[in-house]
Point group: C2
Chain length 252, copies 2
């Protein structure tokens, strides 16, 4: 796919790329789109030189290796920032509810001196994209908007969903039975994240220029709850003692 | 695939299932296998009634809804257990290095009264399976052994790798360039986990009876480092203040 510019019709870009690749969407297909092209089309691109850093950003920037401008952007995109950490990365809770490094602000695959923010409302972006693609293809496809995030307790980034429409993001197995007829009590699978991870394997992280992946053959469950089911409330967090570096567990 | 019993030749089960499905492995394919069938074949199945719970297990069981027997198994499988949490789940650092709920001990798809543990050395199990399948198929396929784990900060379990042979588990993009020729500085992608997540979408979590998935068309990088690159050292943990429920970040 070619470069996407602010104000571009992303559905048209994707539709053209599908035609060029000989892909014809069918009922049951779903589409994973990298947030970066959604953000570019929606103009969520910031010229770093134009950012005015306030005193809080200047103070926090001194504790990290970030510029005051990037720090200001992180503050603007976050509900909460966590205490400064020794590797110079600002962890924050993004205004959308995700906890991630540097508020998911991205410099790779952005023109020099520019930064890419997450879409304002990625679930809504997914809905708009689905509608615009349905006009062209005649097929109403669920759309996932993906990003790659780091994670606690494991190395390596993976594809996750930051936007979703048309499918159940978390599949509930509670009440179903296993091979032995036993009732499953807790299994809830984050299929939206798994689908984005699968797509990420096809997208790559460098200059591959594959920002959209069509997935065929996955029997999704239709739903319109967006990404809300993926957002853990802090009071449901189970891992917190395991993440704490100051206080170890009980050595065995 | 049929039920796997302790002592069974798992490669033979998988080979037969491939033949029955008309799947012929080709060079470049890789195989994801659910740990559950590996553990069953290796006899890592415990009759809960035979477990002798010690005093530590009895004490911890009082604080959770677990039986002393299950608590003993969790202690036996862990390096470290974390302080008891209000939802009755014991979080621990597994002897293999993973942090997960209840030491990844599984009751679903196990016969009544039995529990399934992770393989003793899943990387070694993967190597043995690769060799045994090569004898039958003539193709040396990388093997991933998968489990589904919960994660901090997001809802829903996803497929992850607990065993790996023949491919680079974490793909290093550092030094590669993006579309604008800028050098990537930090991107390391946990492709082993993404591949297991993709396979998990085909396996399901209930009575689907699909414990092995052949992946074709993914250009993996050959390597023999197993799952070690996926294991984060506690001193590299970035998310810990974000996981802490007791101490919030700075509200914006």
């Amino acid at each position: 796919m070619g470069e996407v510019a602010p104000g571009d019709d992303l559905a048209e870009h994707i539709w053209k790329a599908m035609e060029a690749s000989g892909v014809t969407p069918e009922q049951g297909d779903l589409l994973v789109v990298a947030h970066k092209v959604v953000s570019k089309a929606e103009g969520r691109v910031v010229n770093m030189a134009e950012v005015q850093a306030g005193p809080e950003a200047v103070r926090l920037a001194e504790e990290t290796s970030h510029t005051p401008q990037l720090t200001q952007l992180i503050l603007d995109e976050s509900r909460e920032v966590y205490p400064y950490h020794d590797r110079g990365i600002l962890m924050s809770r993004h205004r959308l509810g995700w906890t991630c490094a540097n508020a998911a602000i991205d410099h790779s695959n952005a023109p020099q001196g520019q930064a890419i923010l997450l879409p304002l409302d990625p679930d809504e972006s997914a809905r708009r994209l689905r509608a615009a693609l349905e006009e062209r293809t005649g097929v109403s496809m669920p759309v996932l908007i993906s990003d790659t995030h780091g994670r606690p307790l494991r190395e390596g980034i993976i594809g996750i969903a930051v936007g979703c429409c048309g499918l159940e993001a978390v599949k509930n197995y509670v009440g179903r039975t296993d091979r032995f007829g036993q009732r499953l009590n807790v299994s809830r699978e984050a299929v939206a994240d798994e689908l984005c991870s699968a797509a990420s394997l096809c997208m790559g992280q460098a200059d591959e220029s594959v920002p959209a992946v069509l997935i065929r053959g996955y029997a999704y469950t239709p739903a319109e709850t967006g990404t809300a089911p993926l957002k853990r409330k802090p009071e449901r967090e189970l891992f917190h003692p395991a993440c704490d570096k100051r206080e170890g567990g009980e050595q065995l």
